[in-house]
Subunit: 352 residues, 3 copies
């Protein structure tokens, strides 16, 4: 299996995290999703809006202006726009100011679980689905920790990295796998209309620090890796009575710039809160090692003018992620709440 290809097309009919709610409180902020400059602002009424970051008049970014009531005001000539992008005020001008030419594009926004999600198609005022929810973030029986990171890599290279098993033993060394205790395990891959899941059967307890943290006394391991359109990666472990889910929602800032908003939720008997303290620094160590390698990879891809990957069966989810993203860019796959399985599970053998 050999492929030569360009970066995946942009998926615009989708929700991405633009910022945390906290970040938007402090005034208008500029952000970029799919190479599109946006301004986010929170009006007096508390509602958050996302507009194209360009004043209709003389193209100055609205993000260098300020919030006035429920409107944003441009810093150059003082034009003001509502959350719908319609111009409401032009200083020095007599007569009506609203009009198509004086409007800036407005994007659907949802504030949810402390994150600001933006739907990247301004032509679609009522999207047919809602943003992803971090499954256990609001549950009291779980301790959750949130972190974010900017990768110099494409969104699909980053997704594949998060859900890739072979590199963990190798790149992260003793951190949570051990390349010396190589066991043959079975992997079941189930495709769905908007996602794909790999289940690892017969996997021993993870080695290194992670295994020790989650199951100090050992026990049975259950492990799933999942990709959900448009850009969510889930890694789930059940070990004895403990349960860990790391959800990473990625935002494609540009072709080789990807922001990860991750939540690690842990249910652990008795001292769960204490254990979860160690999760964040541990995750950040892994993330930094991955980020460095992804930067090397992106630089090489850019230098050579494009990707040229050779895949193997042990890449497991990599090719599936790419296929789903391509289908989605062509409008053939969309996120849904009622995911239908596609075909029977595939079975493969892997040495970890």
């Amino acid at each position: 299996m050999s492929e030569s290809h360009h970066p995946v097309d942009h998926v615009r009919d989708a929700w991405y995290i633009a910022a945390t709610s906290k970040h938007v409180e402090r005034g208008p902020i500029a952000c970029e999703i799919l190479d599109t400059p946006l301004v986010l602002f929170q009006g007096e009424g508390g509602k958050i809006a996302a507009l194209l970051d360009r004043c209709a008049h003389r193209n100055v970014p609205l993000s260098v202006g300020r919030v006035r009531g429920d409107e944003i005001e441009c810093g150059y000539h003082g034009w003001r726009y509502g959350a719908d992008g319609i111009c409401r005020h032009v200083p020095t001008m007599c007569g009506p100011v609203e009009g198509r030419a004086r409007r800036v594009e407005s994007y659907p926004v949802r504030e949810q679980q402390g994150y600001v999600w933006v739907y990247m198609n301004p032509e679609e005022p009522s999207p047919d689905h809602e943003p992803y929810r971090f499954p256990y973030l609001d549950e009291a029986t779980y301790s959750s920790t949130a972190y974010s990171y900017d990768f110099s890599a494409s969104v699909h290279a980053t997704l594949e990295n998060i859900l890739d098993v072979p590199h963990t033993a190798f790149l992260h060394g003793g951190l949570f796998r051990n390349s010396k205790e190589a066991n043959e395990i079975t992997v079941l891959i189930q495709r769905y209309t908007d996602r794909v899941e790999a289940q690892f059967v017969g996997e021993p307890r993870p080695g290194g620090i992670l295994g020790w943290l989650l199951a100090p006394r050992g026990g049975t391991t259950e492990h799933w890796d999942r990709f959900l359109l448009p850009s969510v990666a889930e890694v789930e472990y059940k070990l004895g009575r403990s349960h860990l889910l790391i959800s990473s929602a990625l935002t494609p800032l540009g072709d080789f710039k990807t922001r990860m908003y991750a939540v690690a939720s842990l249910r652990f008997p008795v001292i769960g809160r204490l254990i979860s303290r160690f999760l964040r620094p541990f995750a950040m160590m892994v993330v930094r090692q991955d980020a460095k390698m992804l930067t090397h990879q992106s630089e090489a891809i850019r230098r050579f003018g494009g990707e040229r990957f050779a895949s193997t069966a042990v890449d497991v989810l990599g090719a599936h992620i790419l296929r789903l993203l391509r289908r989605s860019a062509r409008g053939e796959s969309r996120p849904s709440t009622t995911a239908e399985p596609v075909g029977d599970p595939e079975r493969m053998i892997m040495r970890v």
Copy 2:
């Protein structure tokens, strides 16, 4: 009125300031006009020449060489060129050295009022008009102060900014207008073959520091804004017995790099020289605020791949400047000393 367009074409049949006379005295200097690298040098006889900054031999910039008598000598192999760009000397070579292939392009030059003007069409040895003169710079009854500034903006965005009224109340706040005292005033716009003028009728004394400086005891205000091809902006005030003219001659260095050479000339009863001391720091404060906004504007235009402006009647001269520049780039308008009015004045109402 909505427009979507690319930067204005270059106007090459025109004079632009390349440097001050003082700057050229110190040796050959490199400068760039309309993205064209030039070398300016002053021969022993005092005459200043402008050549394309590239030796005909091996393309080394002549500006890294040195002046020898009335010629400039390349620093690599020592080829020498006269003010006409003809090669006069090639070391180690026997026989005649002049010839078309060994010539570099030479541009018409005028030294005038302390500025070095260059005509940017090397094919035109005798331009049909002379450079702009700063009107009161040589008059003893006026105190004049000169300053310059480099904007990260196109020449037309900078011209519009200098001659734009609505942004002053807004961007420059208390500096010389006051958005609270909104008055309806009449504006008369008169077009000419090579320029356009806006006269503001019934305008109150400027608020803020400027008004206080120019007319501490109040009085009648007369105010004109003018654009003259190819790139001069004039702002003129008459308040009681005082008279102020700020002339800004712009040089397009590149698409988004514009250098402004400005002269503010003030006639003021009794303490004119003292008052004019305050003009420069005041002007520089305004310029810095404008420059910051123009940089934001240019960055957005570049990021979006072009301008997309929506204009209103209160932009007054903006659309006229653009039309004249475009006509000029097509060779349909040229600077002249006998400007003919085009049509009757237009009249409009504005709240300032």
Copy 3:
């Protein structure tokens, strides 16, 4: 004679120095030749290999990996490649790993006289000629000193610079010629199938420091400048009983990046070793002056979008170098050990 042209096409069927042997000992190193990223590594057996610096799997540069026995291991997933570029190991994978899609391109390598030469055509496993040998580097009667330098210039501009006589009097001033003592001398130019040689007849002893160093008591001067495909420049002096050969083998890293590996070999009666101590700092002074001028030249060529040279007879070898490089890029000229003269020598007069 006037030319307007783009940089010379790449000559790929040729040997270039990629690094010194010493440099490769310390682990895998990245280098770039003709804009092609390579990784060099030395296996346990001592053999040096050159591969395209891109893992076949996920395109991470192999140079950020490490050497394992006689193989290089990628730092991301641990794939391992032999000196022939064939993949020998994929961790976690069961079954055979070798295959065309998992192979990276491998380049012929020769280690010779302390330099690592790479043949830049990976399709050609057995080149029909061997790399250039530095003529006196291994001879005990000569004192040799080696140095290298990176020029911001094309390979042909650098070659011409090294072999150009007129600029030395001018740019290097008193260092080794003296523009005041202008003598007319005869130059004989002999072309060969793969090289060109200029012999300078009747040349006085070099002025400045060089002349004094080589022939403190004067004597007859013999002087040759030579260009050999693909990128070697030789400057040879015989003065009385002393003999000096400076060989510069150039490596085109990219269009405007050229690395020079030079060896100066001197045979000098009695105190040769002492005199040769002065050669290196002297050569580096000359090189730095040249490098500065070549950088100016390259910047101008880039700014103007291409070269536009006007040549004269006194440029001597410049045009010949360009013609040979172009013939070579088209496959019409190749380095050989039995160079055949082409035509009779040309004769010209020059004032130095």
